[in-house]
């Protein structure tokens, strides 16, 4: 892979790694005794490790000019592998924290294994590690194919992908040693946040520069979504993470916001992270891989447009529904509630647009588990956005808030929508990337599909039950006007559901492991039979004559 880089790109890489390594060294030296030093060593090791990789290929001959007439897919390939690896790790920790809720003693008396530390490893592992890598990998692929332009350089995409993974590693390792800003989904501390800003701005620039070089007259809708994802996440990340470190040699910082303002900024961030990371980005994925795989045109161009702008506009206001019945002024809650209701329309329009695109391809949905993954994802997207709008209504929220219902809702979206669309897209993309006819085993895709679907259903039903029981127990009064149940009583009632959830999650995790195996075998086969590799079915960069319809 290094041999594909030009000599000057190799030099860029080495200089960047040198700077990064020095940064790590400084952190390690200045932060003696502070957790930031641990991160300094991790950064240093990362830089040294990658330098070896670059140096090993440093004297390889320059790549031929031919490469400029092909798409640049190496970062996408690596991104897919990283995404799957994070999926297995993140979901494994998910099953672990699920088990901890059922059997709290599983911490083995180790601080790092406590629920509070493992939980963010799970959430960041799956959202940023699994989801984020999949988004980066697919966005580079989709961007090039739909603009018919090659990525502008070969260094920047690597900087984005590997820099992003460094962020993920620093984040996850930090939680284990107790480094956190205690803002949900924004737990990493100030130095990791600053690094992510550099990575993210580069990501956005790659997008803009490639779009500027596009040879298609119009920008495909998938790219709008990917761009909204990149742009808004940058904005959210910067605003929510403004903080003052207690010193340059300490991992600890204090947010510039306090009290209810802090809560509002956090949930404006948190909710839009769901909107633009877990929704917009994955809609971008769906808008490319679903019609590609189904071989069908998008049902309605206009519907794509209004749902894009609807989602972008309405979501921005909805975050306060996370703070119903709190110290947040009531007018902000009313706004959040009503915008959450209106948000349902563009959300369902997107889901409907995806499902209607399958008209004329339903026989493929039946036979092809890959396409079925994407179809089910669109259905779960519709279901969980409906549920979300419903839960945003204040009286409903007074029952659901703080209960497992929320967790069930999150996972209907996370497992049913985010993970399913990602697995579907990966199954479509891997054979294209490794020049194979198909995945190593379509039976294993089928197995994965049923594991994933049953796992999701078990998980979501368990949490609906436990959430509603919990909510009701907390508000049940006896005749004498006292609360009938104590909090511990509700925990006792949750126990069987927690076991069921852990089981559902285990099924889902098994599915992810099956996927990892299948992808691995596909890649291996591709290497074994590299010679008889299948030719690219994509429309080539320069020629426009060979237009095929459908696939």
């Amino acid at each position: 892979m290094v041999s594909q880089l030009t000599t000057s790109e190799r030099q860029y890489a080495l200089v960047t790694l040198l700077l990064l390594g020095l940064g790590g060294l400084a952190m390690a030296a200045m932060g003696r005794g502070d957790p930031i030093a641990v991160h300094g060593y991790i950064v240093l090791l990362f830089a040294i490790g990658l330098s070896f990789v670059v140096m090993a290929g440093y004297y390889a001959p320059e790549p031929d000019k031919d490469r400029l007439s092909r798409y640049y897919d190496d970062p996408t390939r690596v991104g897919i592998v990283l995404s799957i690896a994070w999926a297995v790790v993140g979901m494994f920790v998910g099953v672990w924290v699920a088990a901890l809720l059922a059997w709290p003693d599983l911490t083995f008396d180790q601080a790092w294994a406590s629920f509070g530390r493992l939980r963010p490893v799970h959430t960041s592992g799956v959202i940023f590690g699994f989801g984020g890598n999949a988004l980066i990998a697919t966005s580079f692929h989709v961007l090039q194919r739909t603009t018919r332009a090659r990525l502008p350089g070969q260094f920047a995409p690597w900087f984005v992908l590997l820099g992003y993974n460094l962020f993920c590693v620093v984040a996850a390792s930090g939680y284990l040693i107790g480094v956190t800003q205690s803002k949900e989904y924004a737990e990493p501390e100030w130095y990791a946040d600053i690094w992510l800003v550099l990575v993210w701005v580069t990501y956005f620039l790659i997008y803009l520069r490639t779009l500027a070089r596009r040879k298609e007259p119009h920008i495909y809708v998938a790219n709008w979504y990917y761009m909204a994802f990149i742009l808004v996440v940058a904005m959210l990340h910067i605003v929510n993470n403004i903080a003052v470190p207690i010193s340059w040699s300490s991992a600890k910082s204090y947010s510039v916001y306090s009290g209810v303002q802090d809560a509002m900024v956090q949930w404006w961030y948190g909710h839009n992270a769901v909107a633009f990371f877990l929704t917009a980005g994955f809609l971008g994925m769906m808008y490319y891989y679903l019609p590609k795989r189904a071989g069908r045109p998008i049902f309605s161009y206009r519907l794509s447009i209004i749902s894009f702008w609807g989602i972008t506009f309405f979501y921005m206001w909805a975050g306060s529904h996370h703070l119903h019945y709190t110290a947040l002024p009531q007018w902000v809650q009313t706004l959040g509630m009503t915008f959450s209701i209106m948000l349902l329309v563009p959300s369902w329009a997107s889901a409907g647009n995806a499902l209607a695109t399958l008209n004329g391809a339903w026989h493929k949905v039946r036979d092809d588990a890959t396409l079925r993954f994407m179809m089910v994802a669109a259905v779960f997207y519709g279901l969980s956005t409906f549920e979300g709008s419903f839960m945003a209504i204040r009286p409903v929220n007074s029952l659901s808030h703080y209960t497992d219902w929320t967790v069930g809702h999150v996972h209907a979206g996370a497992l049913g929508w985010v993970a399913m669309i990602t697995f579907g897209s990966i199954y479509a993309l891997v054979p294209w990337m490794w020049k194979r006819e198909a995945m190593y085993s379509s039976r294993l895709i089928e197995v994965h599909f049923w594991l994933a679907l049953s796992g999701t259903i078990v998980y979501v039903f368990a949490m609906w039950n436990s959430g509603i029981i919990q909510g009701l127990m907390w508000r049940t009064y006896n005749e004498s006007g006292s609360l009938t149940y104590s909090f511990i009583d509700s925990l006792v009632a949750m126990h069987p559901y927690y076991i069921a959830r852990a089981f559902g999650g285990l099924l889902f995790l098994l599915g992810a492991i099956v996927a990892a195996y299948n992808v691995w075998m596909t890649i291996r086969q591709s290497k074994l039979e590299a010679a008889q590799g299948k030719e690219d079915a994509d429309i080539p960069l320069f020629a426009r004559d060979a237009v095929q319809a459908g696939e």
């Binding site: 739909t146 590609k292 009531q330 007018w331 209701i341 004498s480 006292s482 429309i539």
Partner: protein, 290 residues
């Protein structure tokens, strides 16, 4: 202009654009989308008219209902309190402990409310059925540190033990070994003696020697007969209930390193009525786990 393309399945024309094989149909937006958009916007408009919604500089639109969640909660809590007061809580506030416990009709709601309060606030330490655990006393044992009268229990709950309250009860079992007051041999003896008081077997000579150590060092707090003292919160060492465990190691540690249990004070967190309910609840716990 490219040639107009038509999709075979739907018969619709495409927009004429194509991206790596993906096309888009010219399908108009289905009517129902506008219908639902209208419905949700209408719902929102109604909410905006009824409830506080839009910021206006330093204030906001109040909505025609004048609805305010804070007032609502205050009113509802006041109403519920009033109902409870007239039903039974008022009596609890005014009646003496003896009167309350003698009134079975009143004890029913008191026990219900008491249990929920206890399990929500106290069970983390004392256990759901109040039987305690290592380091936390069993409240059903009737072997009281500070006395079993309701007044004593109420005081403990209010001010706590070794707590941050100014009037806290102070309980201190000294570190006889660590502070060098007693030699290891003496400690070993007194431990054997103390354990023998509740029936544990032990070397007779050690028990005899331990008895002397006890008389010289321990009776000030634990009393001549080792039955404890409610004035300093020293436990009865002759019964089968141990806070920290009755095996040799635990008792040795108690004497060697001392003990200083911590029980938070609740006067700032719970209302006088709640403390009273808890007092009656704890006082009438009937030994056996519930």
């Amino acid at each position: 202009m490219e040639l107009e393309k038509r999709d075979r399945v739907t018969g619709r024309t495409t927009t004429g654009h194509e991206w790596n094989g993906i096309e888009e149909l010219e399908t108009p937006i289905p009517r129902v989308v506008f219908f639902f958009l209208g419905a949700t916007v209408l719902f929102s408009l109604i909410c905006w008219v009824l409830y506080p919604t839009w910021p206006l500089g330093s204030t906001f639109t109040k909505g025609v209902t004048g609805f305010d969640q804070r007032n609502l909660v205050t009113e509802q809590v006041a109403k519920a309190d009033a109902e409870r007061a007239s039903a039974w809580a008022g009596k609890v506030e005014t009646m003496s402990f003896a009167e309350i416990e003698a009134d079975p009709a009143l004890m029913q709601p008191v026990k219900e409310a008491g249990r929920t309060l206890f399990v929500d606030n106290c069970a983390v330490c004392h256990g759901v059925s109040a039987t305690g655990g290592p380091g936390f006393p069993n409240l059903t044992s009737k072997s009281w540190l500070w006395g079993g009268e309701p007044e004593a229990i109420e005081e403990t709950i209010k001010v706590g033990i070794n707590s941050t309250n100014d009037d806290t009860r102070v309980s201190q079992m000294m570190a006889f070994g660590r502070d060098g007051v007693l030699a290891p041999e003496q400690i070993s003896n007194v431990v054997t003696y103390v354990r023998s008081l509740s029936g544990a077997e032990g070397d007779a000579a050690k028990i005899e020697a331990g008895k002397e150590v006890f008389a010289a060092n321990c009776v000030a707090c634990h009393g001549d007969n080792a039955k404890g003292s409610h004035d300093v919160g020293a436990p009865d060492l002759t019964d089968h209930f141990w806070i920290y465990g009755g095996d040799v190691n635990s008792v040795y540690t108690s004497v060697y390193s001392g003990r200083q249990g911590h029980m938070p004070h609740w006067d700032a967190r719970l209302s006088p009525l709640q403390v009273k309910l808890l007092t009656v609840y704890v006082h009438t716990l009937d030994g056996a786990p519930q």
